[in-house]
Amino acid sequence: MRIDCPWCGSRPLHEYAYSGDATTKRPDAERDADLSVWMDHVYLRDNPAGLHKEYWHHVSGCRSLLVVTRDTTTHLIESVSLAVQPSKGGKK
């Protein structure tokens, strides 16, 4: 498996570290006091057989965090994007 990093191009798997499901959203510590919301975020997963949106960290490359959409039954990658869009820099 190779992942096409938006900065570095197609790079081999061993340069990347996997960080799991990218669809779970960390609850707001101030507002979401309900434990079931936290249970959902910390433990429960859809774990689909098919397209899965997941984080990959290009640790041995540009160190960007990527969101990859991959088929868990074939490992074919549908899309790769940056988890955080870079700021434009310069004056705001």
């Binding site: 498996m1 081999p12 798997l13 061993h14 996997y18 799991g20 499901d21 434990l35 079931s36 249970m39 959902d40 910390v42 433990y43 429960l44 997963r45 859809d46 774990n47 689909p48 057989a49 899965h52 997941e54 991959r70 868990t72 039954t73 074939t74 490992h75």
Partner: protein, 417 residues
């Protein structure tokens, strides 16, 4: 007598084509008392103990493929009970005791070989952890022996114990009663015994949905049509999330592939099951002579029953560094199985919010050794609608209450066991 020297000879001469079938191939009836979804080791063991311990025989095991296609036929065959958490020690040692009597119970040779399981360590911190583990085991009456470096070298001379090894060996924790079991024989033995007690084992029957009315299960849909049942018990290992989702449940589980590898066969050279302490690696020699080993999970969600090259390379590097005499062996095959990895590394045997629907899964990559007691306690739960005391803490609710059973004492990552 089913088998004799005479029958062996007769069948050898007739091309092995006329052996009597070991279990029936029934079509499903329209209704059962209990349906077990999944005919892996755990499903088949559950069926056997439902009949043997609880007298419940109006049971069907529905298996979507052939018996043994899943992890029961793909694992590295290691059995042991050298755990740290009290719940796990009690559960897995009960299982080891059942293994010790299983060939007699099933009247089928599962080829248990108690050759000892040795966990080697390389640092003082690892040694402290192993001593703690050994003491935890001893407190529950489980056998654990601490070995120093020279004793490791004496027990397994092919381990590189020299001070200039890449990861010098300090010692090891040995469980003499641990060992290996012929995995397919376990599936076949439980299947034969369940069948003989009247249980229908139905292959090529995939469950595609559940019939649920007013919060109570009424049966299943399958590719062989609807089948009704008073109770339905899920037992599908790597496909746990998918099958549970058909009943509206979300689980604290991810599916990950683990690979195993086997080399060309050689003469007996390794008579102990050994794990390396510097990386994830365990090795055992099979009766055919092949060295069977495994390493890490590939490390990302997968339902593809095959593994990648990176992990293969690293497992092979472990073999060569730990036991240098294996460096020139040729690899014959490698394969993968899909493991249901829980967030705390421990299994789940539980009732569900749907009445009459039970769930058994989350075995990570350590569930082969658990097969007998998994079936024993799951059968108890199904028969009595109350958990067996050995599995009471393997509930689904532990993730809500915080009563995790976390062997490695680390955060919620689906990569441990």
């Amino acid at each position: 007598m089913r088998y004799s020297a005479g029958s062996l000879l007769r069948n050898a001469l007739s091309g092995q084509m006329h052996w009597r079938k070991v279990w029936r191939e029934p079509e499903p009836k329209s209704a059962y008392d209990v349906i077990i979804v999944g005919g892996g080791g755990h499903g088949l063991a559950t069926a056997h103990y439902l009949a043997r311990n609880h007298g419940i025989t109006n049971v069907a095991v529905l298996e979507k493929g052939y018996l043994g296609n899943g992890n029961i036929g793909r694992n590295t065959t290691i059995v042991r009970s050298n755990y740290l958490c009290p719940d796990n020690i009690a559960f897995y040692d009960h299982s080891l005791k059942l293994w010790e009597g299983l060939s007699q119970d099933l009247n089928y040779n599962v080829m248990l070989s108690q050759r000892g399981v040795l966990n080697v360590f390389h640092t003082p911190a690892q040694r402290d952890a192993m001593i703690r583990r050994g003491n935890a085991m001893a407190l529950q009456g489980v056998d654990a022996v601490l070995l120093n470096r020279a004793e490791v070298g004496k027990l397994v001379p092919i381990i590189d114990i020299s001070p200039d090894a890449r990861f010098p060996v300090l010692g090891g924790l040995l469980q003499p009663r641990g060992g290996s079991v012929r995995h397919d024989a376990v599936a076949w033995g439980y299947a034969r015994s369940g069948d003989a007690q009247g249980i229908d084992i139905i292959q090529n029957c995939e469950v595609t949905g559940f019939a649920i009315e007013n919060g109570k299960v009424r049966g299943v849909q399958s590719n062989k049509g609807p089948i009704t049942a008073k109770k339905v018990a899920i037992c599908v290992a790597g496909r746990s999330s998918l099958v549970a989702a058909m009943a509206g449940l979300r689980l604290p589980i991810e599916s990950h592939v683990l690979q195993s590898y086997v080399t060309e066969p050689v003469k007996p050279i390794l008579d102990t099951v050994v794990s390396f302490g510097a990386a994830h690696f365990a090795i055992v020699q099979s009766d055919k002579g092949g060295l069977v080993f495994n390493g890490d999970l590939d490390g990302y969600n997968s339902y593809a029953q095959r593994g990648n090259m990176e992990v293969l390379t690293s497992a092979a590097a472990c073999a060569a560094s730990f036991m240098p005499c294996f460096s020139r062996l040729r690899m014959l095959r490698h394969w993968g199985g899909i493991n249901d990895m829980t967030m705390d590394g421990s299994p789940i045997i539980t009732k569900t919010p749907v009445k009459g629907l039970y769930f058994n899964g989350g075995w990570c990559y350590g569930g082969f050794k658990a097969t007998p007691t998994s079936g024993w306690t799951y059968a108890h739960l199904i028969a009595n609608d109350e958990p067996h005391e050995l599995a009471a803490n393997y509930s689904l609710s532990r993730f809500e209450t915080g009563a995790l059973i976390n062997e490695s004492g680390s955060g919620p990552v689906p990569g441990k066991h």
